[in-house]
Point group: D2
Chain length 337, copies 4
């Protein structure tokens, strides 16, 4: 259930509603907005009665939420959520450009790419230290060493870093180093990991699973939010269809679909979404035109030698050229880059 407070309500009124919720053995999640405050209620086993809350002072209405997600729903918050990370903004009119290598391979490679993407205009550095690989015999990432390299790249370039956490045991270590914790597509329904990410004091980038519906994606975001972490942004990275001309089928309709159902920002990863270097730029342009809140793009200074996903990485010069188109299209659709 969602309690919508009247405009200009007092802190006292809000506190009274929260106290009542807690007295019933339930959990209250205040969701502030610029025009109104809502309070999500979770923890109930059966339906709640709106009347019980509507009699409280300052309550405008109590809405039984019909969707299975509450806190991340558009009903809970009418305005788009904006997340600020080390001064960079994502969402609500701000386009965030995240770029970097698929995997952190060495200090040299990471710094070279970090400087290149920064000078081309990226706002965040991405790079995997823990890599989920289909084969147990493939390169699995530099792990803690990789996190340290990323931290050094941040120090040198000032770019906040985004890197993936693979399990409940190492997520704390990742949270220590990273500015944003990434939950990958294969872990979108790794519920213990989502819960733990919800307890970390770091924003979370949650990627859509390969065969996840938009509702399932938002339910997974709700797992994070229900643990008290509202700093979530989502990522469309291609779904699995019968189609084989790309590695995945990038579903750009996910962007308006998420925006209709939720207040969370959503970005697009055209690198994994296509798996082919020649496709990254056109689909990146399309992602901005469709209204995405950000892009996540793999860049490598020597893709032929990349230890992971080389064929989809842009060269720094290609990324720089792409940034020009991105800026121009962003302006047309009213986004600040």
């Amino acid at each position: 259930m969602l309690i919508v407070m009247q405009q200009g309500v007092s802190e006292e009124d809000i506190a009274r509603v929260i106290a009542r919720i807690q007295a019933m053995g339930l959990i209250a999640h205040p969701i502030p907005g610029s025009s109104r405050t809502a309070i999500g209620i979770t923890g109930n086993k059966g339906p709640l009665s709106p009347a019980e809350f509507e009699i409280l002072p300052g309550v405008k209405t109590a809405i039984p939420v019909t969707q299975p997600f509450i806190l991340v729903s558009r009903e809970a918050r009418r305005e788009d959520t904006q997340i600020t990370i080390a001064g960079r903004k994502i969402g609500a009119g701000h386009l965030a450009i995240i770029a970097g290598p698929c995997a952190v391979e060495s200090v040299e490679q990471t710094l070279a790419v970090a400087h290149a993407v920064k000078s081309a205009g990226a706002h965040f550095l991405r790079g995997g230290a823990f890599k989920p690989r289909t084969s147990p015999y493939s390169f699995q990432g530099l792990e803690k060493e990789g996190l340290k390299i990323l931290a050094r790249a941040r120090e040198e370039t000032g770019l906040p870093i985004i890197t993936e956490a693979l399990d409940t045991e190492s997520i704390e270590m990742v949270a220590e180093f990273a500015d944003v914790i990434q939950i990958g597509a294969r872990n979108m329904q790794n519920f213990p990991l989502l819960k733990k990410a919800g307890r970390c004091r770091r924003p979370v980038l949650l990627k859509r699973g390969m065969s996840a519906t938009i509702e399932e994606l938002l339910m997974s975001a709700e797992y994070i939010a229900s643990e008290g972490n509202g700093g979530i942004f989502l990522c469309e990275r291609g779904i699995r269809s019968f189609s084989t001309h790309t590695r995945n089928t990038l579903d750009l309709s996910a962007v308006p679909a998420v925006k209709a159902a939720s207040h969370l920002p959503i970005i697009v990863d055209p690198s994994h979404g296509t798996g082919m270097r020649s496709m990254v730029a056109p689909l990146a342009r399309a992602a901005v035109a469709v209204g995405a809140d950000g892009l996540m793009i793999e860049v490598h200074d020597n893709p032929e030698r990349a230890l992971s996903d080389g064929p989809q990485a842009l060269l720094p010069a290609q990324f720089e050229a792409l940034m020009k188109d991105i800026r121009a299209i962003a302006e047309i659709v009213g986004l600040e880059v």
Copy 2:
């Protein structure tokens, strides 16, 4: 096999190669280009020997084509094909805007929509006179009456008309009235219909089937081309995936994929591709940004009363607003509208 002629070769040389091909009981398909002429050979049962053709004067090289399509392949023609219909250009830098109602319902509705889309800047009028409907009890189109209404709308607005042909019996009647014959998604592998479209003297708009690969789409185009009709443009209109938040999953990667493999233009239909009015504009913008050669958009002056696919039709005012964004994005990606 593909015979590539030397640059600046004489008509005589070309004629000699064609004669040789015909003398072998095979079919020669000259494919002129600005920088070179190629001659496709079809009709052979087994592989042909390049040497047999390379000794002829004017022949640069004979390439055994590895893909199953020849005439529509990028190997056959390096430049993008451009189709000109009643003065409007599609492809090779020209963005074509096709708009109109899903179905022709009446003179009034058709004229109203035709005038509206024309004044907003559309280049072509679309509208179905023969409608493929899942249910035998749904409105099946006005048939010949509908074709006459379209012809009248053309007369009044000057817009060339694009309308669907459903079978080998009625395609000739459609060809009599229409400027472009549309082959719908459900008929993409209706091979007798493709062959007959190949024998019509009209450009053909071929829509991708709901579960067709890019290769299958190009093979179907090859059916049309192999009958002598090279005026083909393709249309991505959404594929069927597990995803249910849209009616179909619009696969914008089909645009660069087709352009890599073929010289034919490809447009995008965001109306069928999403099935939801609110999604049409964002996906239309994305389609232009990804590099499509055109858009096909359903517009209705009274969507609530539409006899077919009302929920996905834009209102004239929405279409007009969209045209502004389209023009701006087209400029960025180097397309003339």
Copy 3:
């Protein structure tokens, strides 16, 4: 709407209801059953009033049908439909075995396979004279010559023949030769072809399209039934999914799903459903175990030389071995072979 008549109603009562329906400008479709007669009504634009029919003598009840298909629905007929073709029964407890080559290639090949499958216990001979091929350059079938060969094989073996019709122009010729007209997967939504099949006086085998839902399959069957042809049986032949270890993904759940929603028989084609010889026997066994009303299996005496789909054809000896398992499993699930 569906008019359900009382048990033991007179012919006169039925005639009176039909007359009333026709007087309203609608179409009446009597659907006899062993325990009750129903009369389907089609042709109405809006909803009909049950009361208008329930006052007529002999009418038990008038049911507004909620599904979009009426005549083929389980509501219209509670008993399973059984089709009898030249003495062979399909459906309602009778398992029909249809076997033969993918394409009719020559008299010798067709007769050899026909004799082989007959001696192994097949009830019908299949074989394509008109072949829908992805490539315009592939073997397209012997056409009329092929139909004549099939007719000769029937003469020699006594097996009724099932063969595909590809378009509205040639379907009459097919109907002249064939005992059953097959509508292939690619034509499942070729509505003009379905309508014409509905006007042929031949049973129709309708294959599920590669990306068709069960509802769409039944709507296509309704097209045939609404033209007056109730001799329809359906065929699951594999759907298109992301999965690539088989040519298509055979969806055996389609069998109980169709049986729940419709009274029509449904058979399974494990040859196209898997595309691999080694998979045909296990999936054929599974199809019988799941409750299919028949099997359609490709058999070739020399698969390496087959002009179409050789890799999925069983050798005659393999087919014979499979028939033993089929008979044993059929007995367990209560089917007569």
Copy 4:
């Protein structure tokens, strides 16, 4: 690389090969078979030279493995693997019946179902103590309490228990109580969990992910095997397709596909594979007919009150009736129940 030893080779020869592999800094995985012993080599960065191993005494041949999985491949072991758990056999001719509730809800419910499935002939009891639920607000399982209830059910019925582990933190606790650790479909590519399962001294049931190819499934099994745990059996439980008449699309072709590529047993879960009670029995029969090594079936004594997946659970009496068909079909396909 795979080293295949000569028949009747001595232990000494095997030890020598292993020592050589280890001396090169690589990992040796002996894979004994009845007719031959193979030794898988993992840990190499680049390709190895066969010659280096073929000169060793007792080595028949060294095969560079072309597939990305080695230890679980059919090349590594020609015979079907059979797993024995508390006296019950799975694989290589033995059909294992696993039944029980979706979730452990109470002592009473678990014991009632356990006794019912045992008396109907099940060999294993299934039941979730940790439940992966799409919504954070759904019942998440009784956790440790649930494991204790399962242990008590085993004590009372003698049935070994199979239950799911959700993360690397709780898997040890699960391994303490369970006879078989289940890795669910959502965790098929949770690589840290797979590695930890590989280090547990318990057989592992690995379910196919909703959009996993057979190769990906086998790669995930390879993760477990490469950690030294060869007691793996796989489970087909339905894939995600466009088709909506069932919750998932049960892909029975996965059974022969896995058997062709791997020596591991594979079972089928028709309960999750269809999500509908009425579909479970027909698809269970089909799974046995296709050659599966086992079935996993949800049974509940009061499905309407089930806390999870009630609509797909069989009633005990339905399960008992199904067991009769299963035994009869198993006999036909040569399986011992």
